[in-house]
């Protein structure tokens, strides 16, 4: 894709300033409907998920004490993988967004939560909630566009390093939690600028290393030792569960902003951006995944990435409910709602990683895929 501002056919050209502010007001109403109806059912939902996840983790780890027996290994590894995915996605990511702060339960609150991930919650909340969710898809401002190791937009300058980016992406997928930690530390940038000796960076790095040490001790020392004769299979099971979780979360995250059809934005385009314009950027800059209720749960409802980016702090269990209303807004305002099944979105994102490994002018020789699905060209409201 090319930033929206440089496209020959600007997909929002048909909307005037007033349309965009009206769109914002309509989204505010949807938000208000959810915040005023949050209640007992929602609280019961997140408590149930946490309850199920913790029991699943305890059960799986207990089964893995006997992982010398292959059926126990399989069952324990599968259970632990699912538990780790739930913990990171539907629970950790969403709790740290403050989606459940309204419950005033100190045990389920964005300021107290710590997750099963190499990146400490404080660090992650800054780079994710403050930076990515504010500057979503703004080239040069949102580091989530390629995480600093890839080029995922034509307007990002090519560098020979990017030739191997399919490999970088694969490695990042396998080691995703460490990738996130390095990313949250802005490791590359800090090394390049020679800031690694600065106290602020050192304190953060120390925090990350401490967290990694504790996580690794748990999965690769304590639980294996507790398993006695099953030590090695347990170690393998834990490593597998972490790998499965890394691959899964990486795939889901790629689907959020990389598939074809998602728009990016010029750095200067957000100067003086209004609330309506911010909403519009979130709408165009995110992509959903279609699938079953189980898929939505396992993605932490990031399969409703569009709704999540519009309202990052609404409870995740409600995104599904507002999706039809949001989709109706897209249609009415003549915008394209990017969505598709998981395999298609993952494929689309990977295709882009391969395509942009080479400089833009190579594209002239290779037929590029359609830049965006054909937008629903319904006339704008207003």
């Amino acid at each position: 894709m090319t930033t929206l501002q440089k496209k020959p056919h600007n997909p929002v050209a048909h909307l005037n300033d007033e349309d965009i502010e009206n769109l914002g007001r309509e989204l505010d109403v949807i938000r208000e409907q959810i915040t005023s109806s949050r209640g007992e059912r929602d609280a019961a939902y997140i408590r149930k998920i946490i309850d199920v996840q913790r029991k699943l983790e305890l059960g799986s780890r207990a089964v893995l004490l006997f992982s010398l027996f292959p059926p126990a290994w399989l069952a324990g590894t599968a259970g632990l993988s699912v538990s780790k995915i739930l913990e990171n996605m539907e629970i950790g990511h969403n709790v740290m967004h403050g989606q459940w702060d309204w419950m005033r339960d100190p045990k389920i609150h964005s300021t107290t939560w710590e997750w099963d991930n190499a990146s400490p919650s404080e660090l992650w909340k800054h780079s994710h909630n403050e930076l990515h969710h504010t500057y979503t898809n703004v080239v040069g401002r949102d580091n989530d566009l390629g995480y600093g190791i890839m080029r995922v937009d034509e307007d990002q300058r090519w560098h020979p390093f990017y030739v191997a980016q399919p490999l970088w992406n694969f490695l990042n997928a396998c080691l995703f939690e460490y990738g996130i930690a390095a990313y949250d530390l802005e490791l590359g940038k800090n090394i390049k600028l020679g800031r690694t000796k600065e106290p602020e960076f050192r304190a953060k790095a120390k925090g990350v290393l401490k967290k990694i040490r504790k996580q690794m001790t748990r999965d690769y020392v304590v639980h294996p030792v507790l398993s006695g004769p099953s030590a090695l299979p347990t170690l393998g099971a834990n490593a597998t569960a972490n790998l499965v979780r890394n691959l899964w979360t990486h795939s889901v995250i790629m689907c959020g902003h990389f598939p074809e059809g998602v728009e990016t934005f010029e750095k200067t385009s957000i100067d003086g951006e209004t609330r309506g314009e911010w909403y519009l950027r979130q709408m165009l800059g995110s992509a959903n995944i279609t699938g079953s209720p189980f898929l939505h749960l396992m993605t932490g409802n990031l399969s409703f990435q569009v709704e999540h980016h519009l309202f990052p702090d609404l409870p995740s269990n409600r995104y599904q409910e507002i999706a039809p209303k949001v989709q109706e807004l897209f249609e009415r305002y003549g915008l394209s709602y990017t969505t598709g099944p998981l395999y298609k979105q993952v494929g689309s994102a990977w295709k882009k990683v391969f395509r942009l490994a080479l400089p833009n002018d190579f594209l002239a020789k290779v037929p590029a895929p359609a830049d965006a699905p054909v937008a629903d060209q319904a006339p704008a409201a207003a």
């Binding site: 609280a43 019961a44 045990k107 996580q215 304590v222």
Partner: protein, 372 residues
């Protein structure tokens, strides 16, 4: 090893705890144990509601089985209870109405639904047995001294009877027909009508047995209790050690009367809610650690405003007496809603971290920066 002062037992226990933490990191062992047994010893104090009994048309007694960590209370004390109403945790204080050593180990609170009362209406009309509530240990000074006075007067109104019932039920019940525990007790209780008297049956029976003297004031027909009337109702009022609990207006007039008579030290009062006396202009309150900024009016306690915005605010009695809600004010001004006193803080002028303020009785009096 000679430097170690720990007993081997502690060391072993510490090691076990440390190992358990290594197993459960980044969570704590308690986070998993809570899933299995929320009322176990060592857990944050919680309780399970086991029964709810109606008392009047708008009051119920809630029977709670407290977790293993519960310590005994002193009759007359209250507990703080955290109830999830519509998914939102709300903390309130209620007097304990149960004897300290109930055979089943349960405790009771008695709750009267007040207009617009979020928690009281929930407990009276919607709560059901089986639900888990958060608890704090009992606290409060509304108790009889170890050496009990020979003559006691209780003055209560409405749900103000609850701590007094907690005290009466703990008197020895042996020796029917005699004054309770050998103490001469007079209870002056005020309620709109005869039907609105909470614990009416039990109180009237104690009176019929001659164990206490009960004076009921039904305000719908008799009018409000007038302190000047008290001498007629209880001629020896000046000789009695007095405990009073009820609405702020009643307590204020009693306090005035007792101080006018020069016996202020013989009056003990329990307030359920702070009396908001002074309000003023509000301002923007910024919670600097979380980066939350709120527009607050000059009549809303900062505690309520923060909670409304989803902040995790420490809280306690909500009436300005327990200091459980204190946080540092780094910069700005707040007004004490009870007396209008202004507290200000300026960076570099106040000590480390700022000036401590009670958020439950303080409203913004301009722009404030709070270290939370």
């Amino acid at each position: 090893m000679s430097t170690s002062v720990q007993t081997p037992g502690t060391t072993l226990r510490d090691r076990f705890v440390k190992l358990a933490e290594m197993v459960t990191t980044p969570l704590l062992p308690a986070d998993y144990l809570d899933v299995i047994s929320p009322l176990r010893s060592g857990a944050d104090l919680r309780g399970r509601v086991v029964a709810i009994h109606p008392e009047t048309r708008d009051a119920v007694t809630v029977v709670i089985r407290p977790g293993r960590g519960w310590r005994r209370h002193v009759p007359g004390q209250y507990i703080r209870i955290g109830v999830d109403v519509d998914g939102v945790r709300q903390w309130r204080a209620y007097s304990l109405t149960s004897p300290v050593d109930r055979p089943d180990g349960c405790i009771t609170i008695t709750v009267k639904a007040i207009p617009d009362g979020t928690v009281s209406n929930y407990l009276v009309r919607r709560a059901c047995p089986g639900m888990i509530v958060q608890l704090d240990q009992a606290t409060g000074e509304f108790t009889l001294p170890a050496v009990r006075p020979a003559k006691v007067l209780f003055i209560t109104a409405g749900s103000g009877i609850t701590p007094v019932m907690g005290i009466l039920r703990n008197f020895s019940m042996v020796g029917g027909g005699e004054p309770i525990d050998g103490i001469d007790v007079v209870l002056v209780h005020s309620a709109p009508t005869s039907d609105d008297v909470v614990f009416a049956g039990e109180l009237r029976m104690l009176a019929a047995q001659g164990r206490i003297r009960l004076v009921e004031q039904h305000t719908d027909t008799d009018g409000l209790l007038d302190p000047d009337q008290l001498c007629d109702l209880v001629p020896d009022v000046a000789e009695r050690e007095t405990w009073a609990c009820g609405p702020a207006g009643l307590l204020d007039t009693l306090e005035e009367r007792w101080s006018a008579d020069g016996i202020a030290e013989r009056l003990h009062v329990e307030r359920f809610r702070p009396t908001v006396l002074v309000t003023g202009e509000g301002g923007t309150v910024t919670f600097s650690r979380t980066g939350t900024a709120l527009e607050c009016d000059g009549a809303t306690p900062i505690l309520d405003a923060g909670e409304e915005a989803g902040m995790l605010m420490p809280s306690g009695c909500r009436m300005g007496i327990c200091f459980g809600c204190v946080v540092p004010l780094r910069e700005g001004a707040v007004r004490d809603l009870r007396n209008g006193a202004i507290t200000t803080a300026a960076p570099h002028e106040s000590g480390d971290g700022g000036v401590p303020i009670q958020t439950c009785v303080s409203a913004a009096a301009g722009t404030c920066d709070i270290d939370l």
